[in-house]
Symmetry: C2
DNA sequence: GAATGACCAAATTGTATTTTTAGTCAATCC
DNA sequence: GGATTGACTAAAAATACAATTTGGTCATTC
């Protein structure tokens, strides 16, 4: 390792720039400038812009997964685990500059890399949920079923009730959200007997 | 009424053109040509392009609502009514040229009028669902709750399991879809005792 | 008096020109 | 002598501007 770790410098600068300006508006010149490094140096560590971006994205995804996993407690009921994990994920996504910027970039100019990145994030969340569901089924905590489809449904339902609902309504209180998700996941709408 | 009903001619031509080319690519000259009518004639019946479009859209929405309502039978369980109504709505949306074209237009070029139109369609579907839910609550067929939120959740869940799922997976069989929707709406995932 | 299409301002599209950007590589540095 | 660099290039993107298209009008026609 050199006196100053140039690779780390580049990564740090790139993380900053991608979070602040998004994929497209981040230029390699700018990253080099922020990192106090010649532009050529970047290319000794990363093939190209996309690979550099992938590295940054992977870091963010790793943290997202980490936070979600921290919400899983084997002794807690399935529903509580799902709810808290999803709540954490949505909150993290709404706080993390990179995700915010990429969403905005996708909306505003439809950058393919932003689209691909957010799709990757969704895939990871789905994988996470699917595993949680599978394990809960194995433990007999919930009924058997197609874990992939169920994960997909639960995620979309949660996104709908939080992000999408808030787009045209005053945001729901957390307890109300939890109650609704609870209804869908544990009992449905059949009238109490 | 004149020998030929020019208003009807215009409406018919407009319906054809909007369905075939979408909102933006439909020109008033073209509508006039198809309708065998001078362009000025259109403006004796409709204020402007948007109003003409609104008339066509309203017609399509009226038919959509009509079909959905035909799926509601008071003696059938709530869940069956919801499932068949939504199935009909999604199918109609996937068949009707106008809706298809508007969705494509929104994806490809983001025409504001296409966005507004599809939002209007969703609002109507939500209203329809909300009413069905309210009435079922009043009848005691399902548990009490916030009908608007529940309608929103059910619609998004259904769209997710049909349209969105099919975008990245082989489409679900109808029975499988019905079973999953059934699970969410009537019992949830709690393990059988 | 209903219907029309030539007409116009505004918006859209096409195009030529300039600027910016990702990526390279010969020269430089330590 | 391998790591580092920034001037350089081809390609892409932004800009400026000309040409065309389009929604809407209204004097004229039927």
């Amino acid at each position: 390792m050199a006196v100053v770790d140039r690779r780390e410098q580049v990564l740090h600068a790139a993380a900053q720039s991608f979070s602040l300006f998004g994929y497209k508006a981040t230029t390699m010149d700018q990253v080099a400038k922020i990192a106090n490094v010649g532009k050529g140096t970047i290319y000794t560590f990363f093939e190209n812009k996309e690979e550099l971006f992938d590295e940054i994205l992977l870091g963010a995804i790793r943290e997202l997964r980490h936070r979600a996993e921290a919400e899983i407690h084997a002794e807690r009921p399935f529903f509580e685990n799902v709810y808290h994990a999803l709540d954490t994920i949505v909150e993290f996504r709404e706080e993390h500059e990179l995700f915010l910027k990429l969403s905005q970039e996708l909306r505003d100019i439809g950058t393919p890399q932003a689209k691909a990145a957010l799709f990757k994030v969704e895939s990871v969340v789905l994988q996470f949920l699917e595993r949680l569901i599978r394990e809960s089924m194995d433990k007999g905590a919930i009924r058997e079923g197609n874990a992939e489809v169920i994960a997909f449904g639960i995620l979309k339902l949660f996104i709908a009730m939080t992000v999408e609902w808030d787009m045209h309504h005053p945001p729901m209180r957390k307890e109300e959200l939890k109650e609704h998700i609870f209804t869908f996941l544990t009992q449905g709408f059949t009238a109490a007997p």
